[in-house]
């Protein structure tokens, strides 16, 4: 099999896999929340309600896609696609097995950080273009939140980079042959987990959306498939962060017996479920608490983690 064909197959498999996972998560999240909240969740369409995804898709595609007359039309339309595009692009650098990767970039991690920074535009612009006060507040909250959380998200990964000596995700996975990085980099793992939660704007960091306060925040005015893109974008974000946690801290595709891609998928799903469990458990922070939590606690911790990791690395070498 020629290299180009193989690449195309990998690309297609990852693309379809990601989209299918994101769609499936709609069902999975509702079922799991139902389980944890002593209720059923969607259980009517198909076995265990699994066809609910199809039903939701049909609904969201056929709903009226309304653009408010007062909105800034071009920006209003572009905004939701940004989040989908940047998140999908981020998947390019994730290795799902030895050599199963769309782009084996040397600057893999930096590429991910760049993409996640871009995705902020989606939310901030959506809030701005809607010309609705609730959306505006949501967009502003998103911008401030991302600004704070991007910083230590990058810093929290520095420890991993020091240990692996590379930005390349395949190298990072290979560097974990002896020991998964969540052991030496436990603080880094926790910080990245929290930053990841904030990145995906889920409880306790769902302030840009904050149903009880801002109705639906930045996507209050969105309907139909444009809303669907935010929705799917959020689930893809969850999948992405879970896959990254698995790759960076839990040995990626490595594991005994089972084929490598399966290990990767299992690990990713464990973290997806963990994310959903967090949503079922925690209340939401307040805006100023979230910001000061980021700048005053997480950032110094991330810096401390770098200093200690660096010192230990120098001492060992």
């Amino acid at each position: 099999m020629g290299e180009p064909i193989r690449s195309i197959i990998v690309l297609a498999a990852i693309f379809v896999g990601v989209l299918a996972t994101a769609a499936g998560l709609i069902w999975l999240e509702r079922r799991l929340l139902g389980l944890w909240q002593d209720r059923y969740g969607p259980n009517r369409a198909g076995p265990f309600g699994s066809l609910q995804v199809v039903a939701d898709m049909i609904k969201i595609f056929t709903k009226e896609d309304w653009i408010p007359p007062f909105a800034d039309k071009p920006v209003f339309i572009i905004a939701p696609s940004i989040i989908v595009v940047t998140t999908i692009l981020s998947f390019a650098i994730i290795p799902f097995g030895p050599g199963i990767q769309i782009a084996n970039l040397n600057i893999g991690l930096l590429f991910f950080l760049a993409m996640s920074s871009l995705s902020v535009y989606s939310v901030a612009l959506a809030g701005w273009a809607s010309d609705n006060k609730y959306s505006l507040l949501g967009g502003l909250r998103a911008a401030a939140q991302m600004l704070g959380y991007e910083v230590f998200m990058g810093l929290s990964l520095t420890g991993v980079i020091i240990l692996a000596g590379s930005f390349n995700l395949s190298d990072i996975v290979n560097a974990q042959r002896k020991m998964w990085f969540f052991i030496p980099q436990f603080p880094g793992f926790l910080i990245f987990l929290i930053a990841g939660l904030a990145e995906t704007r889920r409880i306790p960091f769902d302030l840009p959306e904050a149903e009880n306060e801002l109705v639906a925040g930045y996507h209050t005015e969105y309907s139909g498939m444009k809303f669907g893109m935010f929705f799917v974008g959020e689930y893809m974000g969850v999948t992405l962060i879970s896959a990254l946690i698995a790759t960076l801290f839990f040995g990626g595709w490595m594991g005994p017996l089972l084929p490598p891609p399966l290990w990767m998928i299992i690990k990713t799903f464990v973290f997806i479920c963990f994310f959903i469990l967090i949503r079922a458990t925690l209340p939401r922070l307040r805006y100023d608490q979230l910001i000061s939590f980021g700048w005053k606690l997480m950032l110094p911790l991330a810096l401390l983690n770098i200093v200690v990791t660096g010192a230990v690395a120098i001492a060992i070498n």
Binding site: D38, N212, L285, R286
Partner: protein
């Protein structure tokens, strides 16, 4: 009764020539008539001048006296304003009445004495057309701004059929919408902050965070609330007006829907007032059953609060657990009463039916089950660090603030005053039961939650005692005015049959008089002030609800905080909009 004569004597000495007369009412609350010119001064004296002052303005309302025939001993009046004050130091109430004359009379506002008088006076203006001079924003509060007439005046129609068909042509719809446009200057709001322009945010009436139809207009500096104005009345159904067209008995189901989470708790206050007018002594068993059902509804209402409060702060699961538990309460309620949220089960003179067979098993099962759940909720909600961060030190008010604004119930106890009407003015045999009154000290959102959570445990304790000590005996009084009357003897002699027939078809005829009954409802002090003119219907029914007073205070405590805090405050205040608007 010493204090009662004391205060009347005191007033007589100081304001002798302005005191028109005393009035005796069935509720034994000292009631004094004073001339309108001196009301302001006398009220001010009662609040600040005397030792052990009457610090809380409990209620202000009015009576349209023009059609009232039994007014013996009362000064001539067309519209009477009734000020109801409460003293915590004396554990005593006083009612100050003042007679007004003329089609559209006016009187001096007392907003400068009590800030909480603001909404009460607006309500009187709205309902009776009585003007208050010096009131900062005397405008309609419950009715739409374009409403014609003042509904609680006797000449105002009570039924839609008396008013001509409802029509909503386009121009009317437009003008109605225009009326709702908010003009900040009218309310004394500024559109500029210190160095910034303020953003006005229309919060509600349809909003997921307001728990019903409530509109708040916020002036925001970023996310900080610079000013807030409440707009209520979207849930107004005219319950007080309906009371004037329903028989004493048929009004009971309407009371259920005042605080729609409180169920029979509303019946409780109403039937007690009616019984005191009719002079009915309620049998012991009925009293105990009433207490038990009321406490079940306290649990049910607090569970809704608990879950929704957690949800307001973003925790999505607790509300499901708590509604599941509430469902267990409703299973018991429906086994006993046949209804769920609005069983309308209390009757004048007792309760509707005897307890069904097997009720004790249901109740004891719940008593076994519930404490473990409460312990779990403590871990899930009350001890959660994020929950604490969101609620501690947020929405704080002092005890003085609380008294000034007429706060009762858990909101008052969270400020450190162990004031519970079940203890301080025991009714229906609460004095025979053992329970503690939970208190907290800081008066913030968290402390209000602490008090309510502990109340859940205390209610369970009360129910346990009811279960153990449920007396034998009748569930309804055999007094002739108890409604519907017991039927036992109707088939044996014609007189009883006739009485029964009349009492069921027309309803009981209650002797003229005035009475007031107050209970410690789920959200605070709920009371009914009934005036009978010797008819089958009440001449005037005043429903004083805790939510009204509590909601009025929200702008005061939310200034300088953020939108997220406002949501926490609204959740912690625990109001029901039906209870606010009536």
């Amino acid at each position: 009764m010493d204090l009662t004569t004391d205060i009347l004597q005191d007033l007589q000495n100081l304001f002798g020539e302005w005191i028109l007369s005393d009035q005796t009412t069935k509720d034994d609350i000292p009631t004094v008539w004073v001339t309108p010119q001196k009301v302001h001064e006398i009220l001010s004296y009662l609040k600040t001048g005397i030792s052990k002052p009457y610090r809380m303005l409990y209620d202000v309302t009015a009576i349209d006296e023009r059609l009232r025939s039994h007014r013996k001993g009362q000064p001539g009046s067309e519209f009477t304003i009734v000020y109801h004050l409460l003293s915590f130091d004396r554990n005593s109430d006083i009612r100050v009445k003042t007679p007004l004359r003329g089609e559209n009379p006016s009187i001096l506002s007392i907003v400068d004495i009590w800030q909480s008088a603001n909404w009460y006076e607006r309500e009187i203006w709205d309902m009776f057309g009585i003007k208050f001079e010096g009131h900062p924003h005397l405008r309609r509060i419950l009715m739409p701004p374009s409403w014609n007439g003042h509904p609680l005046r006797k000449e105002h129609p009570a039924r839609a059929t008396e008013m001509g068909p409802f029509q909503l042509p386009e121009e009317k719809a437009e003008s109605l919408e225009k009326d709702l446009q908010f003009n900040p200057e009218e309310w004394g709001m500024k559109s500029e902050g210190q160095d910034t322009d303020l953003m006005f945010l229309n919060f509600g009436p349809q909003h997921p965070g307001t728990h019903g139809l409530l509109r708040i207009i916020l002036a925001l500096d970023g996310e900080e609330i610079a000013d807030a104005v409440m707009d209520i009345g979207y849930h107004h159904r005219g319950a007080e007006k309906m009371a004037e067209r329903q028989s004493w008995h048929t009004f009971i189901p309407y009371t259920d829907r005042i605080d729609y989470l409180g169920g029979v708790m509303n019946n409780f206050a109403y039937v007690q007032a009616a019984e005191s007018l009719a002079g009915i002594q309620v049998p012991e068993k009925a009293q105990m059953i009433r207490i038990m059902m009321a406490e079940f509804f306290r649990i049910s209402s607090h569970l809704v609060w608990y879950g929704t409060f957690a949800q307001d702060l973003g925790a999505m699961s607790p509300v499901f657990y708590m509604f599941n538990d509430r469902e267990r309460v409703f299973e018991i309620v429906s086994a006993i009463t046949g209804g769920r949220m609005h069983p309308a089960w209390f009757r004048i003179g007792g309760v509707s039916q005897d307890l069904p067979k097997g009720w004790d098993r249901l109740v004891s099962e719940f008593i076994e089950y519930f404490p473990a759940r409460l312990a779990e909720y403590d871990k899930l909600v009350m001890q959660n660090p994020i929950f604490k961060a969101r609620t501690q030190g947020v929405g704080t008010y002092t005890l003085d603030d609380a008294i000034e604004w007429g706060v009762t119930g858990p909101g008052l106890r969270a400020c450190g005053l162990d004031w519970d009407f079940r203890k301080k003015r025991p009714y229906s045999g609460y004095d025979q039961l053992e329970f503690d009154v939970p208190v907290a000290s800081k008066g913030d959102c968290y402390d209000r939650a602490v008090v309510r959570v502990e109340e859940l445990r205390q209610s369970l304790r009360i129910i346990r005692q009811c279960l153990k000590n449920m007396p034998e005996g009748p569930y309804k009084s055999d007094h002739p005015l108890a409604t519907p009357p017991l039927k036992e003897h109707t088939m044996k002699d014609i007189e009883t049959l006739i009485t029964h027939f009349l009492s069921v078809s027309w309803g009981p005829v209650v002797k003229p008089g005035e009475s007031f009954s107050r209970i410690e409802a789920t959200k605070g002090a709920n009371s009914y002030y009934l005036i009978s003119d010797g008819n089958t219907m009440a001449y005037r029914t005043r429903i004083r609800t805790p939510s009204f007073a509590h909601l009025q205070m929200v702008p005061y405590i939310s200034k300088g905080l953020t939108i997220a805090d406002l949501i926490a405050i609204l959740g912690s205040v625990d109001y029901v909009l039906a209870d606010v608007d009536r």
